[in-house]
């Protein structure tokens, strides 16, 4: 078991004026771990995700990532080119709405190939080959490689977004409500796919969601947020089955039984 955390978050705080986005969040994520962040709307989970992924600049704190070349580096102190390079290579970000993460005017193959071309791939045949391979892995038929995502269903768009993100073999994936807005049968298939990919590629992932069923199936660990603060963290099944904090108990007992 490696002792170097892939991601070490220390004291991350983000304020919107007097309002607290997230406050003093710290945790370590190790290679191969999947961590869920749950909480109601406005609890700060998306703010935290965006701070970690470099989309928002936190007011305080460190986000130390174990880079492939230089070892652990505080990504908040990195220059913008370095951080953007990281977000094209070692990191991936899956948006809740596939439209935010895809180029809707570009074919499926072009969408998947973009990250390869961004890191210097210049052989059309190879790029296309990788794109087709990845479409297969996310269960999109090869014949759709030249179709635009506008012609895809919501579930297919989400799977395409995942393929586009994973094609460069990232080590850390940020996911913002990846199954939100999809109907339940599509959700199930997507969950299974994400789980297999995480396992087969040895990915680490941070998944923000308000769906406790999703984290139970996907996440090894769980962080519960309320009003910008982490109120409880631990093993997913432990937090859900033996919640210690009042808010977590309320959250868990509020789930509708089917």
């Amino acid at each position: 078991m490696t002792d170097t955390a892939l991601l070490s978050v220390r004291g991350v705080t983000k304020r919107y004026g007097a309002h607290i986005g997230c406050a003093d969040v710290s945790f370590d994520l190790y290679p191969g771990e999947v961590m869920g962040i749950v909480g109601e709307s406005g609890s700060g989970k998306s703010t935290l995700l965006n701070c970690m992924a470099g989309h928002l600049a936190p007011d305080a704190g460190q986000v130390v990532f174990d880079t492939a070349v230089d070892g652990p580096c505080d990504t908040l102190q990195m220059s913008e080119p370095e951080r953007r390079m990281l977000s094209r290579t070692d990191w991936a970000f899956v948006h809740q709405h596939a439209r935010d993460g895809l180029r809707m005017g570009v074919s499926a193959g072009g969408n998947v190939g973009e990250r390869l071309m961004a890191v210097g791939a210049r052989h059309y045949g190879d790029i296309r080959g990788s794109a087709i391979d990845w479409l297969g892995r996310v269960e999109i038929d090869e014949t759709r490689v030249d179709d635009r995502p506008t012609t895809f269903s919501g579930g297919m768009q989400q799977r395409l977004q995942i393929a586009r993100n994973l094609v460069t073999g990232p080590r850390l994936v940020f996911m913002d409500e990846p199954t939100g807005g999809l109907d339940v049968s599509v959700q199930a298939r997507l969950l299974d796919m994400i789980r297999s990919l995480v396992r087969d590629m040895g990915l680490s992932a941070i998944i923000v969601t308000h769906d406790l069923a999703v984290v139970r199936l996907l996440a090894d660990r769980l962080m519960v947020m309320k009003s910008g603060h982490v109120v409880e963290a631990g093993l997913t099944d432990q937090v859900l089955d033996d919640p210690q904090h009042a808010y977590t108990q309320l959250l868990v007992s509020s789930i509708l039984q089917v």
Binding site: L235, Q238, D242, Q244, Q249
Partner: protein, 227 residues
């Protein structure tokens, strides 16, 4: 393999007037490799709670819950995750899986998580499912639609596919017919012979007597009875 020292457990119900329920206190027990121990006691005496604490599912308020040298009370989540992946198996009464995943993959998953090649893991899963008399026609279907007994056997297959050195069994023979019950008892006996330390809850007394070396009455761990 399992070593409990002075373990206590309370539930605090914050949303019900912060009621504190004491379930266990001063629990001590040791189970060594190759041993099979049954937890006994009346319903509500804390058997399931203790099982869940042994799996790291419930958090103890005090004491040491050591499994293969890892103290579940103090361990970081990732240590418990690794322990569950490599050392500690658990056959629960309830099957919880991603919907629409074929039974064969559900059973193979513990091996896949250990990095066993998919084809080999599925072969193992098939062997075990066949031994537990799950009809081959069901292997490609999701177990969510199965009957209680079938789900139970899928759960058992998941628990036995990897030779875990430590195993927790929660009512493994409940809702099984005689044939399958015997298969499960064989599996338990095989595991014991391999040196697996097993802790189980068996309401099926005949089964308990057949596979268990000794019994621990958890009533003794109830707060009122604590020494």
């Amino acid at each position: 393999m399992f070593d409990l020292k002075d373990v206590s457990k309370t539930f605090t119900l914050h949303n019900q007037g912060a009621a504190v329920i004491e379930v266990l206190s001063g629990a001590n027990m040791t189970v060594t490799a190759g041993e099979c121990v049954a937890l006994t006691g009346a319903s509500g005496s804390g058997k399931s709670t203790l099982m869940r604490m042994l799996y790291g599912n419930y958090r103890a308020q005090g004491g040491v819950v050591s499994v293969a040298g890892v103290d579940l009370v103090q361990a970081a989540p990732r240590e418990i995750i690794r322990l569950r992946r490599e050392v500690l198996g658990y056959v629960s009464q309830f099957l919880r899986v991603v919907p629409r995943v074929p039974t064969l993959d559900v059973v193979a998953e513990p091996l896949l998580a250990l990095g066993v090649p998919a084809a080999h893991a599925r072969d193992q899963a098939a062997t075990l499912l066949a031994r537990l008399n799950i009809p081959k026609t069901l292997w490609d279907l999701s177990p969510t639609t199965f009957s209680g007994g079938e789900q139970q056997r899928v759960n058992i297959a998941r628990g036995f596919i990897h030779p875990f050195p430590a195993l927790l069994l929660d009512e493994p023979t409940a809702s099984l017919d005689a044939t399958n019950r015997n298969v499960v008892l064989e599996l338990i006996a095989d595991a014991k012979a391999r040196g697996t330390a097993i802790i189980g809850i068996f309401h099926d007394e005949a089964a308990r007597d057949q596979v268990c070396d000794r019994q621990i009455d958890v009533t003794g761990f109830s707060p009122g009875c604590a020494a």
